[in-house]
């Protein structure tokens, strides 16, 4: 081991001795440029003295001053200077690097010098302006300049490189957010792959009847959007498909999609439903929450797009050993094809947008009496295209004579502590409006803790409904709870507390609004993409306020309610933001700049312990299991340096912030031996 090159030496070798001519520097000298900042700098620092002192250093080739380096003339002057003295490094004594770091890096580029061969000494904000006295300030400025000179002499010219990127985009989820994002991208000329897990596009909004606050027809609202998507030459829609794996990184993702077999040639299917009439298998329809029935060969719901049948292999007799071809024989066009199978499709895209939406929480998973339904079920009952054709009755029954609307109770029957789901209170107001029209003789009662009406036109609508369709409202306090539901055959009993007193209510139908959570697929997708989901299964955004449409993984965007509860307006705007981000980051023909000051593993030092992998929140560090060394993806690395500080072997170099460079700055402080430095 070369003892002279030790950072950590045995014994206590005084810094001064270490520094005096021990070994060779690389022979590089620095040119120091002091910015006068107009008249400002000289007020705090004696620039003439500073200049004179710095000039005496052998490591410094020259010192010059300029009135305002950041001005246009200043920048040109600086660039010319740098060009004229190409062999020298550059140190700039000026304002904070946070202020003009980029300015000076650009001047280096213009002058033909690698911008990483420059260092800035913050002699304004962190010296001239904060030191009590010109003399100590000048001395401190000298120390800071010496730090910068020491640092720049061990800086390296980092390569600023570019890579080709793929401008195509994958949108996961074809609800209203995914559709919006896909359309926006396609209109800009990008190729879009839209992958939807269910057989139909449109998501939850496709199941709604009318949307608040203006009671617009939901399907009419999104139908033009869906139509454009399905017929757009730039968009390839894969329904009944799921993301299986994702490799690569921003600009170059490789995605495997499982396109599940429909067993029906969708391009030929007219949706005539002859096959369905012939099918012998009947099961509850999950799209109507079990309130209607469907066949094994089916179209999910009335008006579903694409309007094509599919065979549900989990219930179809043919896939359970029986010989049945009823649908294939019935189809007038011969579109039923049992000889197909799931297809794996590989897509290459540059960015991914997750628009997988949200769903009501577990309330439906716990068995509830049949007369307790969730708000989405009531939505379907009210919908004229739904299982009751708009008569609001449960199958085989007369319409309810009394309905209790229970706002915002979680599984335990109390007001949930999780994030407000945004849409439930307004949905309840909408239902009151609709019930008044459809069932004018029905008694509606509300059980409410608090009501949230945040949105344009929302409070007005809620008040309008309150005024014109007033209903008894049972107001619960913070400690009150809905205790339980009791099945009374033709009615359901609701036991609740109000101001601590227990009370009972008996109604034909009780409607609950369970809180929304991220889709159940979010967790799995999050693992595939290494994006975190929170405890409500919503994807975690990059920054709550400023970057809620971005995830922490570069190139993966979040759109709509997959990131947090949103109404339709917010979902579509959020999706447009995600699409906009992709459009501005990935431009066909333009290469992606790779950030040079990333971290790098020096493999000969790496023991393969894997500690670095754990430190990185961006999943940029991985362990090559065969070679037992760590690897850092240069596109994913965000240059924080946490892995470098955590490596027990010192095997990771945090470029431009190496231990060597930081130590060079420290050494200048150490070198300030004398106490006169501070006087």
């Amino acid at each position: 081991m070369n003892q002279k090159s030790e950072l950590f030496v045995e014994g206590g070798v005084p810094a001064l001795t270490m520094m005096s001519g021990n070994g060779k520097a690389e022979g590089r000298r620095a040119r120091v440029y002091l910015c006068e900042c107009g008249p400002i700098m000289n007020e705090g620092i004696d620039l003439a003295t500073l200049e004179a002192r710095i000039r005496t250093l052998p490591e410094v080739a020259a010192v010059s001053r300029y009135a305002t380096l950041c001005s246009e003339q200043g920048r040109t002057w600086l660039a010319d200077e740098i060009a004229a003295h190409g062999d020298d490094l550059v140190v700039i004594g000026a304002c904070s690097p946070r202020e003009h770091g980029t300015t000076f890096m650009n001047a280096c580029r213009r002058g033909g010098l690698n911008p990483y061969l420059m260092a800035i000494a913050n002699i304004r904000e962190q010296c001239a302006w904060i030191t009590g006295g010109k003399n100590p300030a000048t001395i401190k400025a000298e120390r800071l300049i010496r730090s910068a000179v020491a640092r720049v002499r061990v800086q390296r010219p980092l390569v600023e490189s570019e890579i080709e990127c793929n401008p195509d985009v994958l949108v996961v989820g074809a609800g209203v957010a995914g559709l919006t994002a896909a359309r926006q991208l396609a209109r800009a000329g990008r190729r879009v792959f839209l992958v939807e897990r269910t057989p139909a596009i449109g998501g939850r909004v496709g199941l709604l009847g009318e949307v608040f606050p203006n009671m617009e027809c939901a399907s009419c609202m999104i139908e033009p959007l869906m139509d454009e998507i399905l017929h757009h030459p730039q968009i390839q829609t894969l329904t009944y498909s799921e993301v299986e794996s994702v490799r690569g990184s921003f600009g170059n993702f490789i995605v495997q999609i499982r396109k599940r077999a429909r067993y029906v040639d969708s391009s030929g299917c007219y949706g005539c439903r002859t096959c369905q009439a012939a099918c012998p298998v009947e099961i509850p329809n999950e799209f109507d929450f079990g309130l209607s029935r469907r066949k094994a060969v089916y179209i999910p719901y009335t008006g579903a797009l694409p309007n094509a049948s599919l065979v549900d292999a989990t219930v179809c007799r043919r896939f359970h050993g029986e010989e049945c071809s009823a649908c294939a024989e019935a189809c007038p066009f011969g579109n039923i094809r049992f000889d197909t199978s799931d297809e794996m499709v590989e897509l290459q895209v540059g960015a991914i947008i997750l628009a997988t939406g949200s769903e009501p929480a577990a309330a439906n998973k716990k068995p509830l009496p049949k007369r307790v339904i969730s708000s989405m079920v009531l939505e379907r009952l009210i919908n004229s295209a739904g299982p009751s054709e708009g008569s609001v009755n449960l199958p085989g029954e007369a319409p309810p004579r009394s309905i209790a609307l229970i706002y915002c109770a979680d599984e335990a029957g109390k007001a949930p502590a999780s994030s407000c789901s945004k849409v439930c209170c307004m949905s309840m107001a909408k239902y009151r409006h609709q019930l008044q029209q459809k069932l004018p003789d029905c008694t509606v009662v509300e059980i409410v803790w608090e009501r949230c009406t945040g949105g344009k036109g929302y409070r007005e609508f809620a008040r309008h409904v309150d005024t014109h369709f007033p209903v008894p409202r049972i107001r619960l306090g913070d400690c009150d709870r809905v205790l339980r539901f009791a099945d009374h055959g033709n009615t359901v009993g609701i036991r609740y507390t109000q101001d601590g007193m227990t009370a009972d209510l008996d109604v034909d139908l009780a409607v609950i609004a369970p809180p929304l959570r991220g889709s159940e697929t979010n967790r799995r997708l999050g693992q595939l993409l290494r994006i975190a989901v929170d405890d409500q299964d919503f994807f975690v955004e990059e920054h709550r306020h400023l970057q809620s449409h971005r995830s922490l993984i570069e190139g993966v965007m979040l759109a709509g309610s997959s990131q947090g509860p949103k109404d339709v307006q917010e979902s579509t705007a959020h999706a447009a933001a995600a699409a906009g981000e992709v459009l501005s980051l990935l431009i066909p023909g333009r290469k992606l700049k790779v950030e040079p000051a990333t971290a790098e593993v020096q493999e000969d030092r790496c023991a393969g312990c894997g500690i670095c992998v754990l430190t990185c929140p961006y999943q940029a560090v991985s362990l090559d299991q065969t070679r037992r060394v760590a690897e850092i993806n240069q596109l994913l690395c965000r240059s924080c340096g946490t892995c470098a500080a955590g490596c027990p072997s010192g095997a990771i170099e945090a470029r431009h912030f190496t231990n060597e460079q930081l130590w060079a700055e420290v050494e200048a402080l150490l070198n300030a031996e004398s106490t006169t430095v501070f006087m």
């Binding site: 009419c220 139908e223 033009p224 007219y270 949706g271 005539c272 008006g303 007038p332 066009f333 295209a385």
Partner: protein
């Protein structure tokens, strides 16, 4: 030249157009299909459908909220 009709009143988008598409196998060249619907985007949807499928939209009549279209196949 046969004339067929569909009453799609009360049906919401996209069902009226889906009904037209489902009827298509029955229509021979020259036949006319009359469709009545009251869904707000009905006219626009029919125009797009006719353009795509290369059928002629003969007439659009408005009666209150409902519209009646005539399509020649």
């Amino acid at each position: 030249m046969a004339e067929k009709s569909i009453d799609a009143k009360g049906l919401r988008c996209p069902q009226p157009v889906l009904k037209i598409a489902a009827k298509m196998p029955e229509m021979k060249a020259g036949d006319i299909l009359i469709v009545e619907a009251d869904c707000p985007t009905f006219e626009e949807d029919v125009r797009k459908w006719c353009e795509r499928m290369k059928k002629t939209l003969l007439a659009v009549n408005t009666k209150g909220h409902a519209k009646t279209v005539q399509i020649q196949f």
